[in-house]
């Protein structure tokens, strides 16, 4: 278990290191002198040169990239060009709203996804199985922002059931305003969850230990919900880990359509304002989050599966 965990951790770190390098190259390749941009066209050459020195822009590239890694390691993602606040602080201030949205979307995805997956697998080939399969691929195919716009149009503007804008105050108001954005963000993941669970349940049902359980007269219900689901749920955890990571960034559309604060809104505004440190900082943050959640999901599976737990312990 330990060596597996370390190996997975090492791979995750390597991936993040590569992503940081790619980000650095992109920042470096942007035309224009960041010092000149920051100080404006009328600043004197001497002033620009001084800022260049202060930012380390006059150093050789390998030295700059090391400084870049060094500052990230210290949690320094740069400063917001407009407010001057540290980027990490700006991101963390927006994080709770987005996490609430992701939480709501997960709720939307997990419960119906698991129920539909189990029903499809236990009623394989039935009308409800076929319907679930078509609905699953349909919600997976339609982009979430189109769903968000139509939900807003129907349920907020036409029916007036939900407020259209903002995150709200107080528990019930916040929850009320979370419904539509969560639905928009989570709908596709109902499809992913139902599909993977159905496939893995069918695969496990074909394994011979299920035949053994039947041969001892154990009830079909017991076999499905205990013997089969216990194994079949494991790949679903991987998919949901992937889902959380993707949702944190995918939230940008739900946040813009429903006028909510959050990480997506933050990065969108930063792009329009050419506030590069906030853009790169957010990309880095969401990538690390994504990698970390996937790592956590893999480790959780390893821990839940006695086979892996055993193999890894020895």
């Amino acid at each position: 278990m330990l060596s597996y965990g370390l190996k997975r951790l090492g791979l995750s770190v390597a991936v993040v290191v590569i992503v940081i390098a790619a980000l650095f190259v992109m920042i470096y390749a942007v035309p224009g002198d960041p010092a000149r941009v920051a100080l404006g066209p009328r600043a004197s050459d001497a002033l620009v040169a001084e800022l260049r020195a202060r930012l380390g822009l006059d150093l050789p590239i390998w030295s700059q990239i090391l400084r870049f890694y060094g500052s990230i390691l210290q949690g320094d993602l740069g400063r917001d060009v407009i407010s001057g606040a540290p980027v990490l602080k700006v991101i963390l201030a927006q994080l709770p709203d987005t996490l609430r949205l992701v939480g709501g979307a997960m709720l939307v995805a997990v419960v119906p996804g698991i129920v539909l997956g189990v029903i499809s697998a236990t009623h394989r080939g039935s009308a409800i199985d076929r319907l679930t399969s078509v609905l699953s691929v349909s919600v997976m195919a339609v982009p979430s922002f189109v769903i968000a716009i139509y939900l807003l149009l129907i349920f907020s503007i036409n029916l007036g059931w939900f407020p259209a804008i903002g995150a709200g105050q107080g528990f019930w108001d916040v929850a009320h305003r979370l419904v539509l954005p969560s639905l928009a963000l989570g709908l596709a993941w109902i499809g992913y969850t139902a599909r993977i669970l159905r496939a893995s349940m069918l695969e496990v049902t074909g394994q011979s230990h299920v035949r053994t359980a039947r041969a001892f007269g154990i009830s079909d219900r017991r076999i499905m919900y205990d013997y089969v689901l216990r194994i079949a749920i494991l790949p679903t955890i991987t998919v949901l880990g992937l889902g959380i990571g993707q949702m944190l960034s995918g939230a940008v559309f739900a946040e813009i359509v429903f006028g909510r604060p959050g990480i997506g809104k933050l990065v969108y505004d930063a792009i329009l304002a050419r506030n590069y440190p906030v853009v790169t900082g957010t990309v880095l943050f969401t990538t690390v989050f994504f990698v970390a959640v996937n790592l956590a999901a893999d480790l959780l599976i390893a821990w839940l599966d006695p086979r892996v737990r055993h193999d890894l312990a020895h």
Binding site: H209, R211, R214, A215, F216, I218, R222, R230, I231, D305
Partner: protein, 331 residues
């Protein structure tokens, strides 16, 4: 033996599969009996229908399969048409099974103890009592340190131990009939002997009958009272083991045995191969099912299906020439 002494009697059983290209008649008109406490070996190549036969007895046939006709009686009670609920009472209690691959037949994410407790679902005893019974049974199959081992997962046992766990599960309820589906095929030779010895020992204590399905003629010779030989979905010869081995009457049996008698004694792990291939079970040939590969086949064999009859020491032989002298087979 009288009818009432039989634990299992299979009478004219036919099973088919619906396939995209037509109805595959996997088992046709098979009849045999197993007496109380008797060990019967069922032998045949892959695809001969012995697995379908086993699945019919346990009512574990896949959805495309259908019992077309005949009866399967357990002490007189028809299993072929028994309701599902009744089968759940019988399975694991009066009929049990040990499957082939010990790596795959136990649930990998539940402890052995949990599985051994779950299969006592008919009993109203306390969990502790069920657990104690499971520990006692593990001891009977010589699992060392059974009290702690019971909380281990299947992958923490070796292959041979896992098969002993499977045997313990099957015999815990002291069933009347144990179906053993190639239980030693996945084991190496040493473990195979040990497992067979264990099975025989427990069988003597419990007094259950065993239907032993195998490729392995040596095991049949050593363990079984009777032998049934299947070919392409039909029972071609059956009788007391000693009689059939001494004087096989069906040409298929003769070819199986004659390939190399020495190897049978050496416990061959696979059936000797016979030239030719199995007939098409969707579009069955007229006449004798073995005619296409039989060195003795004559015109009559290709037009008229032989009825089973007694010949030599065998009780059932499906051959027009069952009484003819044994085939001369070049070694």
């Amino acid at each position: 033996m009288t009818q009432t002494d039989d634990i299992l009697s299979v009478d004219g059983l036919s099973v088919s599969y619906a396939t995209p290209t037509g109805t595959l008649r996997a088992v046709r008109d098979v009849s045999f009996t197993i007496g109380r406490g008797e060990i019967v070996g069922l032998v045949g190549e892959s695809g001969c229908g012995k697995s379908t036969l086993m699945q019919s007895i346990l009512r574990l046939l896949p959805g495309a399969a259908r019992i077309e006709g005949g009866a399967i009686r357990l002490s007189g009670e028809d299993l072929a048409h028994a309701p599902k609920k009744r089968m759940r009472q019988l399975l694991g209690d009066r009929i049990s099974v040990v499957f082939q691959d010990p790596m795959e037949t136990l649930n990998p994410v539940l402890t052995v103890g949990r599985q051994m407790i779950d299969i006592q679902h008919r009993s109203r005893e306390s969990r502790a009592a069920k657990r104690a019974r499971a520990v006692a049974m593990l001891k009977r199959v010589k699992i060392p340190d059974a009290e702690t081992k019971i909380d281990s997962y299947p992958h923490e046992f070796s292959g041979g131990m896992r098969q002993r766990v499977a045997i313990a599960m099957a015999l815990m309820a002291e069933p009347d009939l144990l179906v053993a589906d190639e239980p030693t095929t996945a084991l190496d030779a040493t473990l195979e002997i040990a497992t067979i010895d264990l099975l025989r020992e427990l069988q003597e204590e419990i007094g259950c009958a065993i239907l032993f399905i195998t490729h392995h003629l040596g095991v049949v010779a050593e363990l079984c009272d009777r032998i049934d030989i299947m070919y392409a979905g039909a029972l071609v010869e059956s009788g007391p083991t000693m009689e059939v081995f001494r004087d096989p009457r069906h040409p298929y049996t003769q070819l199986l045995f004659a390939c190399d008698p020495a190897q049978i004694a050496e416990q061959r792990r696979h059936l000797p191969s016979i030239p030719g291939s199995l007939p098409d079970l969707i579009d069955l040939p007229q006449g004798c099912i073995f005619a296409g590969r039989c060195p003795r086949a004559e015109d009559r064999c290709r037009t008229e299906a032989p009825a089973p009859r007694a010949a030599g020491g065998s009780e059932q032989v499906r051959c027009h020439f069952a009484d003819a002298p044994r085939l001369e087979v070049p070694a």
